[in-house]
Symmetry: C2
Subunit: 133 residues, 2 copies
């Protein structure tokens, strides 16, 4: 399979609620995650919602990182989409699991834009569940 993009869907559970509501912390974390992956940052945009919650994107030359947080549920949805072979998106995922102090997580890897097969549906490579010891 020859995919154009690797799409990691990271769900973080039982995170610290204060962390999930801290825009500056999340912005720094997502930028640092992009750096961990070896990506080139092109831009960023973060929004704080009332009464709580943050949405943020870091646009990278290799695609994007996104986060949406629900502090009231201790939950964050993260997407890490990269194209090409120059980045290590799983390093970004591991970094964010630690940084946001997630007690549990799931990490699903999808291949987007698969060539040379008739289906163009995203193909799941695998899903991982993790819990803090």
């Amino acid at each position: 399979m020859n995919a154009l993009g690797t799409h990691l869907l990271l769900d973080l559970k039982d995170c610290d609620k204060e962390v999930l509501n801290n825009l500056n912390f999340l912005q720094d974390s997502l930028l640092a995650a992009a750096s961990e992956a070896g990506a080139t940052v092109l831009g960023e945009s973060f929004h704080h919602f009332h009464p709580q919650g943050v949405s943020g994107v870091v646009i990278i030359a290799e695609s994007h990182l996104f986060i949406h947080t629900w502090p009231e549920h201790g939950y964050a949805a993260v997407d890490i989409f990269t194209c090409g072979d120059s980045t290590q998106p799983k390093k970004a995922a591991r970094f964010l699991i630690e940084k946001l102090q997630a007690e549990g997580h799931s990490l699903m890897e999808l291949q987007r834009g698969i060539q040379a097969i008739s289906s163009i549906a995203p193909a799941a490579r695998g899903i991982e569940h993790g819990h803090r010891p």
Copy 2:
């Protein structure tokens, strides 16, 4: 199942190559798609790559729309992530399938941040394949 977010993964195949390389057209299309879905636009950011390809995000109060295009493959990866019940993300997907003149597509719907079940992995609700008559 009570999900916090609905995540549509839309893969567009055999699109018009000129369309996929036209930043202004794609920007207008993604903004119009957000409007079709009934979403509230908070911001946007688009980048054109050399020699070709466009990445763009529209941040909405209900989460985000993203597009990455590979004109050389006639392919675009689109994400439509919404939370709450006030939007109709599938309307945005249908709009983009038409607007980008995709000959084929796949549309996968994932539920993110599912509460009240032990797993936090994204759950697929279904996948649809379509071709132009």
